[in-house]
C-alpha cells in the first residue's frame, strides 16, 4: 500500500492527482461506506452520501494541511456529510430528528438490503434512542472495531470521553435489549 505522505503529495500535484485520487477512493470506499451506512441505515442514502463525501474530499484536498491523519480527516467529512444529510431529510419531511430516526428503523423491515432478524432490528431501535455521539462511538468501536486513538482523531474527542461514551452506550443498549 502506498504511504500516506506520498499519497497526499500526489493528490496535491495536478499531474498525479487523478491516479492518486483513484487509489484513495479504492483504499477507503469500503470503510467509509460502512461508517456512513450505519448512520443513514438505507443503502441508497449511503451511496449518495459516500459519493458526496469523496466529491468534498476532492474539492478540498488542497486545503488538507496534514495536521491529522488522512483517514481521520476522511471519517470527519463522512460523519459530517451523513449527519447533515439526515438533518436535511428531516427538514424536508417536516419532522423532528427523533421521528426521522424511528421511521428509518421502521423502514428497515421492508429493506431488501437489511438481512437482520428480530434481535438486529431491536439493536437498531436501541441505537436510535442514543445521542448521535454515543451511537457513533458505539458503532465505530463495536462494529468497525476501530481503536480508541483512531476514533479520538476522527471525532476530535479525548480517549477518556470516548471510553465513557462507549461504556454508557453498551449499558443502555444492553438494558434496552433485556427490557424489550
Amino acid at each position: 500500500m502506498i504511504a500516506e505522505e506520498t499519497l497526499i503529495k500526489e493528490l496535491k500535484q495536478k499531474e498525479s492527482q487523478a491516479k492518486a485520487f483513484e487509489v484513495l477512493v479504492n483504499t477507503y470506499k469500503e470503510r467509509l461506506y460502512w461508517h456512513i451506512r450505519r448512520i443513514v441505515l438505507d443503502h441508497d442514502d449511503a451511496d449518495d452520501v459516500l459519493q458526496n463525501t469523496f466529491i468534498k474530499v476532492y474539492r478540498n484536498i488542497e486545503g488538507f494541511k496534514g495536521e491529522s491523519k488522512l483517514y481521520s480527516w476522511l471519517y470527519r467529512i463522512a460523519t459530517n456529510e451523513s449527519l447533515t444529510f439526515l438533518k436535511q431529510k428531516s427538514k424536508k419531511a417536516g419532522i423532528s430528528d427523533e421521528e426521522l430516526k424511528n421511521r428509518m428503523v421502521e423502514n428497515l423491515q421492508s429493506d431488501v438490503y437489511f438481512e437482520g432478524d428480530e434481535i438486529q432490528l431491536k439493536l437498531q431501535k436501541a441505537l436510535a434512542t442514543l445521542p448521535d455521539k454515543q451511537k457513533l462511538v458505539f458503532t465505530m468501536k463495536y462494529f468497525q472495531e476501530m481503536k480508541y486513538g483512531d476514533i479520538s482523531e476522527a471525532l476530535e474527542t479525548s480517549v477518556g470521553a470516548l471510553k465513557a461514551s462507549y461504556h454508557l452506550a453498551v449499558k443502555k443498549i444492553e438494558s434496552y435489549l433485556k427490557e424489550n
Binding site: E22, F114, L123, Q124, F143
Partner: protein, 182 residues
C-alpha cells in the same frame, strides 16, 4: 493522655478490618478475569448488525465517483468541432430575437424583489451552503450592514445592560478604561 487515646483508637481501627491473605497480590489478575468474563457476557448485543450491500456495488462506485470528480474537472470542451454550427446558431438566434424581441416589453420580467422572503428563507434552510463565517464576512461588506439587521432583537442600551447583567460575573473582565468616563 489524649495522644495515647488516639493511638489506642488507631490501633483498634487497624485491627478491626482484615483482608484474606494474598488479597492484594492477586487483585489485578482477578479483576482482569472478571472484566473478560463480563465482556463475554455482553453477547446480548449481536455481533452483526444485519446490513447487506448490493452485489458488485463497491466495484461500480469507483467509476461513478471518478466521473463526478477527476473526469468532471478535467473535461476539455473541443471548440473546433462546433465551429461549423456557429453560422446556423447565429442565424437561429437572429430569428429568435426578431420573433420574440418585438414583444419583449410586454412580457413581465421577474426581479429579485419578486421573490417572497419565505421562499428565500426556505431555500437557505433546505440547502446547505458551503459558506463559513469567514467567507460570509468577505462576501458581505460590513459598511452595508447595520448590526441591527442581523439581530432578532434590536440592540439598545437596555438590552445591552440586561445582557451584561446576566452574563458578566466580574465587571473587571470587560477591561473598561474608566478614565474615558471620568
Amino acid at each position: 493522655m489524649f495522644w495515647s487515646q488516639i493511638k489506642d483508637m488507631k490501633k483498634d481501627k487497624e485491627n478491626s478490618f482484615n483482608t484474606p491473605e494474598g488479597y492484594f497480590e492477586n487483585f489485578h489478575e482477578r479483576l482482569m478475569a472478571r472484566m473478560e468474563k463480563e465482556a463475554q457476557t455482553e453477547s446480548v448485543i449481536p455481533k452483526s448488525d444485519g446490513f447487506a450491500i448490493p452485489e458488485g456495488y463497491l466495484d461500480r462506485v469507483t467509476p461513478k465517483i471518478m466521473s463526478k470528480t477527476v473526469k468532471e474537472s478535467g473535461k476539455v470542451i473541443q471548440l473546433k468541432s462546433y465551429r461549423k454550427f456557429y453560422y446556423s446558431a447565429a442565424a437561429a438566434a437572429a430569428v429568435f430575437v426578431l420573433v420574440f424581441g418585438i414583444n419583449w416589453k410586454s412580457t413581465p420580467t421577474v426581479a429579485f424583489d419578486d421573490l417572497a422572503n419565505a421562499e428565500i428563507d426556505a431555500y437557505f434552510e433546505s440547502n446547505e451552503l458551503d459558506i463559513n463565517t469567514y467567507e460570509l464576512a468577505e462576501l458581505v461588506s460590513l459598511d452595508n450592514v447595520e448590526l441591527n439587521d442581523v439581530l432578532e432583537q434590536d440592540l439598545n442600551a437596555e438590552n445591552i445592560l440586561e445582557y451584561l447583567d446576566e452574563t458578566i460575573d466580574d465587571i473587571d473582565e470587560l477591561n473598561i478604561d474608566y478614565s474615558d468616563y471620568e
